[in-house]
Symmetry: C2
Subunit: 147 residues, 2 copies
DNA sequence: TATTCACATGATTTTGAAAACATAGAATGC
DNA sequence: GCATTCTATGTTTTCAAAATCATGTGAATA
């Protein structure tokens, strides 16, 4: 559904959001350990997000990744768009080059419903609201038990 | 969303269904030309489908791929399951190893809705009904114009 | 029964996402 | 200023999906 980059990104951003109230910034190692993701790969992803203004970063000792005031209003769609673009919501289910009403594949009408539902879901889900799930303990960000 | 194999498979199966009433079997070259898919790769996919009883095949002169009586009742879900398994409907949206209510990721509840909608859609869509769209000319199976 | 046609099967190559590596550069605190 | 700690950037490696290549096997028909 989403690219690996996107999966790691969402997990990372949600984790950062859980720690954001306290005002502390999170280092890349800290994040990767928590969400059980490859360190170097995740670093690139977060740098890309930082570049796109999705998250903020701070260099130097006691630096790390965090969300500024504006960024705490982040929705899932913002993260997905920044990494996977919108091919997830505009691409053809059968892999045709252009998905349009004009020249459509046979599953277009049915597929569009599902695709739009996904778009709708991502557009209405806030990262901070997901972070709350983690804080409450009703959801996890990693397979590894005890984390 | 679906693997490339799966995309080609659906397009191929739908095309086979359009020609099935006439009772003629379709050769692999004929199919690939129509749906604009790589020949050898598609051949393997169709052989796999044939192996799984999704479609039928006939060797020798005037042989090819076709649907038998039972197979004309085929749903999309049958094709998807045969090639991609059901990881598409059971896998975690954030890439966690096991998706379950017990140990769920923060988007589980929202994602489940979309996933179930997709499963539902595929379970209620018949291949022959898609074939009709092609026959009516209201949908296409390839990017290439004039086909 | 030989020839031809079309699917079947296994090995191999290509491709691009995913991941790792190496190094540069910037900010903090002493 | 200098060491430390982190981000930033570019290159390389890995790996599995995607695609190709080469060869085998069964069926029709003359
Ligand atoms: S053309 Fe295939 S989904 Fe729109
Ligand atoms: S655990 Fe992530 S979707 Fe169910």
């Amino acid at each position: 559904m989403f690219s690996k980059s996107c999966e790691y990104a969402i997990r990372a951003v949600v984790f950062v959001a859980t720690q954001n109230n306290a005002g502390n910034k999170l280092g890349i190692m800290e994040i990767c350990k928590e969400i059980d993701a490859p360190q170097h790969f995740t670093a690139k992803i977060l740098q890309s997000l930082s570049h796109n203004g999705i998250i903020s970063s701070q260099k130097g000792p006691s630096g790390g990744f965090y969300l500024n005031k504006t960024q705490t209003r982040l929705k899932l769609i913002d993260v997905v768009r920044a990494l996977d673009g919108d091919k997830t919501f505009t691409g053809c289910g059968l892999g045709l080059k252009n998905c349009s009403e004009k020249k459509q594949c046979p599953i277009h009408n049915q597929f569009k419903v599902v695709r739009d539902e996904l778009l709708n879901m991502l557009s209405n889900t806030y990262v901070v609201q997901l972070a709350e799930e983690i804080e409450k303990g009703s959801a996890v960000l990693s397979n590894i038990s005890g984390r």
